[in-house]
Point group: C2
């Protein structure tokens, strides 16, 4: 098994109480989600579902410039669903010190840690501590958005080891909610003990590019500005969106090891050097977060998940060893009837040492034309830490969630990964399914993402120069499963007339169109209009296209 | 080359003037298209694009029965697009005798055939004859919906050989239009000569099931009633929709030969017996006409094509020899870089002896998991004549148009089929592209069809028994390219609440879900409603779903 830096390993192993998933802290009012980590995070992309619309304010001043008048409208769906691209930084991780939660309250009684520890079941009431506060959260258990069993992991002890991992909790609203359950203080001595051995699991994160818009710091999740995104066919590594579920492992490439085991395959451990001995294979593939464009779906009704804009997607050239070559060399047959899935585990682990995990159907993993890679390079350079150094699985055409980073092991199996992210996340439901009636077993794990398109430039609300009665737009389009985008249509008059965009894409053959498509369009506009709204929709080579609004595809995870 | 019955071959070869495509005879007023044959006929399916909605009239009589009140509304799209299922038989082929067109007109001068023959260019004026009529159609040439070059094939001669092939012309409107260009009579003797050697190419058509609703008799095109269609997971052969582009060849299985040639493959001729020597392989695959549900798109704006309802689709078990096995046995390598397409030609030919043709990408044809068959059985019996006896290509997951019937030859090539049906038909465009500005070269040939779903029962407008406050619905759903339908949602309140249907489908593995899905749903309804409207939408395993209306996906061919 690959080695992590000692500090990181130590950290995870010292937490005997674990809390793996903590996923729904949205309150009834709209809040900006800063973290959905080990929930059901990467899901299918709502982007793809709906058209991108843009409203551009046009204040005709006789100088051929459309000027913005305030709030930027980036309407993404016909009629019903609207999303706003704004440049305001998203609210992120709030230090506990910024609120009064957990502060000593002289009006309340004191309790010892020992006493708190006895209250670890509903029968005995459920107590937890935070800083110096003691709380009876029994009546909140069933309301916990992440599920009662998750919050019970902290029963009789401190919530802080979990909250340190899952920064989303430290928002003023959640801290205020917690204080409603306050029943006492922890003794000063016990309060010291409770937090003395807690390291910060995020103390060893890599440097990030300052242009990235952060949607969550712990774990780190960020996307580039959309205008930068559509500026280059190959997304620069530093600007490629980052979707981490847990702290970033710091892996030593010299001691790195990949374990391979399972049905029909010889159990093996490969070093990085071993992996690089196989023929090097490169593919240009677009990777997209399932939650890309989730912020637009939130306009219909709040969903659970990171507040992604339209840039949780990127197109890179990945190089590495074909999974097919590795598994074939270990004796696996493409048509072994016992094998159904190929499971991957990352080296990023939660407080209980459970790693991130996912699986793909063997038909994809063992398809010689599936181009699944054990990638060690991104855009010609070794992977960066944020993108999975030293080895990341690249599953072209498949949702980001299955492109497991910091790959630690591969298991060839009859069953799907039992990982939370495979079983209880990254699945879609009807708009009438919500958290009170969802049964994750009834839906299939998302693999491919549907067709989508986005206007990247101009930004909504921007002042735009009208050149000879026209405005230039650019954006991206993508369809999962190796489907090629064959047409992108843009309208400036709500569908009365459509203009076919020019496409920029790699000349690939079906069904291996793994890369995205950039598009440009030079749209004639009404010179008298004071405000313009653009819509875009893409069609792929299955002639699938995008629905018009989010209202009928809304789903509880915003995927 | 396979042998046709002598009579059929004779017929085609005797017509030295040819007319291959004759595709746009819609007049400005709405007419029911009886024939779109060699136009751009099978296209992608509009069905898949939009949701099926049904309106059922509910006259609450205290007896738990919803009764119809007249016209049946089978609303297929949200808000904008509506299709009506009606039981009226479509208007088909009208005998010329039913109009006065071509009758002797004593007020007009007489012309000999020889004289007519001189008028075969715009410079000399373009004359044609019909029965005893002589017409100067010079000014109509550029207005001919099928293009000027097509109509010029009849210049200086009779239009009748073409109209006999393409029955769509013999409608009262077109005959009246023709009479506007009348300039004279053909001499009685010449009129006799003009038609004396014309056989009826449709004199040897097979018997058809009386339950089929005919959308065109010449060539024969028909679909079953949708309630019958969704009654069985395997569509009975006799009720399987028929989409013929030309008269049905009558092939002698004993003398049948399949020619195989092209790049990287040994030129070979196989008998039926030769083909059957390969291992027999069976797949259950749904075949869908590209124009399925076109009648709904017509509600937005008229398109060119057969007026298909929602039943130009069927699910059958096909057995035969894998194309992969045949071509591999002839030396073709899966990864031969010179090979891009596999072309098929049918034995159904037009008046110039040009056969129906199509092609598929080699990546599909030579995919060992692509399941492309040279099928000789449908549902356990030899193919019927209407379905391609003795050999039909089955391309699972691919539009009906590429499932070439009466297979005469296979050509392995770098290029796509040059056939009209591959190059200038079966392609989709933006709603702003119409016949005046279409360039078929700018679009890719349709292969896979997108996700779709349809309510098959109850029929729109039917009286429906409400059982304990609920109504049972059933229908089908399908997605091309081997995608599995993973969810079908039904609403009785315009999307305020959605009900997840029960699915009936084969337990296949990705990406080989070639069959369709039947679904049933038991929907709670408002007992006080006098009329109900149901909508259905499907989601496939790429999480692609259906757009809500036809207005933004309208395209000139209704695909």
């Amino acid at each position: 098994m690959a080695s992590l830096h000692a500090s990181a390993r130590f950290l995870y192993r010292n937490h005997h109480v674990f809390y793996r998933c903590q996923n729904n802290f949205e309150l009834p009012t709209k809040i900006v989600l800063s973290n959905d980590k080990c929930k059901k995070s990467l899901y299918t992309n709502n982007v793809r579902f709906s058209w991108t619309k843009r409203k551009i304010n046009n204040e005709w001043k006789g100088n051929n410039i459309l000027k913005s008048s305030g709030v930027i409208l980036a309407l993404l769906t016909v009629g019903l669903s609207v999303y706003y691209i704004n440049d305001k930084k998203r609210r992120v991780y709030l230090k506990a010190a910024e609120s009064n939660a957990g502060a000593f309250n002289p009006k309340l009684p004191s309790h010892t840690l020992k006493e708190v520890a006895k209250h670890n079941s509903k029968k005995d009431r459920v107590w937890v501590t935070f800083d110096q506060g003691v709380y009876d959260i029994t009546d909140f258990i069933d309301q916990h958005p992440g599920g009662g069993e998750k919050i019970m992991m902290a029963a009789g002890g401190s919530v802080e080891p979990f909250w340190m991992m899952y920064g989303i909790h430290k928002t003023p609203k959640i801290l205020a909610l917690l204080e409603q359950y306050r029943i006492g203080n922890l003794s000063v001595e016990d309060a010291k003990i409770a937090t003395s051995n807690m390291d910060d699991p995020y103390s060893n994160e890599p440097q990030r590019h300052p242009a990235l818009n952060t949607s969550s710091l712990r774990p780190y999740n960020a996307e580039p500005p959309s205008a930068l995104l559509v500026d280059s066919f190959i997304t620069p590594t530093a600007l490629f969106y980052v979707r981490n579920h847990l702290p970033v492992p710091d892996v030593d490439e010299k001691s790195y090891e990949l374990e391979i085991s399972g049905v029909g395959v010889k159990t093996t451990t490969l070093t990085l050097e071993d992996i690089k001995k196989f023929p090097k294979h490169s593919v240009t593939a677009c990777i997209q977060c399932a939650g890309n464009r989730r912020s637009e779906m939130n306009q219909v009704k709040l969903v659970k998940g990171l507040e992604w804009g339209p840039a949780a997607i990127g197109n890179a050239t990945w190089s590495g060893t074909r999974l097919y070559d590795v598994l074939t060399s270990l004796g696996l047959k493409e048509d072994d009837p016992r094998v159904r899935h190929i499971q991957f585990e990352g080296m990023d682990t939660d407080v209980t040492n459970v790693p991130y995990g996912a699986s793909i159907p063997v038909e994809k993993g063992m398809d010689p034309r599936g181009d699944v890679l054990l990638a060690y390079e991104m855009n010609g350079e070794p992977l960066t830490r944020d993108h999975g150094f030293p080895i990341r699985v690249i599953v072209p055409g498949t949702v980001g969630a299955r492109n497991v980073k910091w790959l630690g092991s591969i298991v060839v199996a009859e069953e799907e990964s039992s990982s939370h992210w495979q079983q209880n996340d990254y699945k879609g439901f009807s708009p009438s399914v919500d958290w009170h009636n969802v049964d994750f077993k009834t839906a299939v794990a998302i693999q491919e993402l549907p067709v989508t398109s986005v206007i990247g430039e101009p930004a909504s609300g921007a002042s735009v120069r009208v050149d000879k009665g026209r405005i230039k737009l650019k954006g991206y389009a993508f369809s999962g499963g190796g489907h090629q985008v064959v047409r992108v249509d843009v309208t400036a008059d709500k569908g009365q007339s459509w203009h076919t965009a020019q496409l920029i894409q790699e000349p690939t053959r079906p069904p291996r169109h793994w890369g995205w498509t950039l598009w440009t369009a030079d749209i004639p506009v009404d010179p008298k209009a004071s405000q313009l709204e653009f819509w875009v929709k893409a069609v792929d080579n299955s002639y699938n296209t995008q629905p018009e609004s989010f209202s009928h595809i809304w789903n509880l995870r915003g995927v």
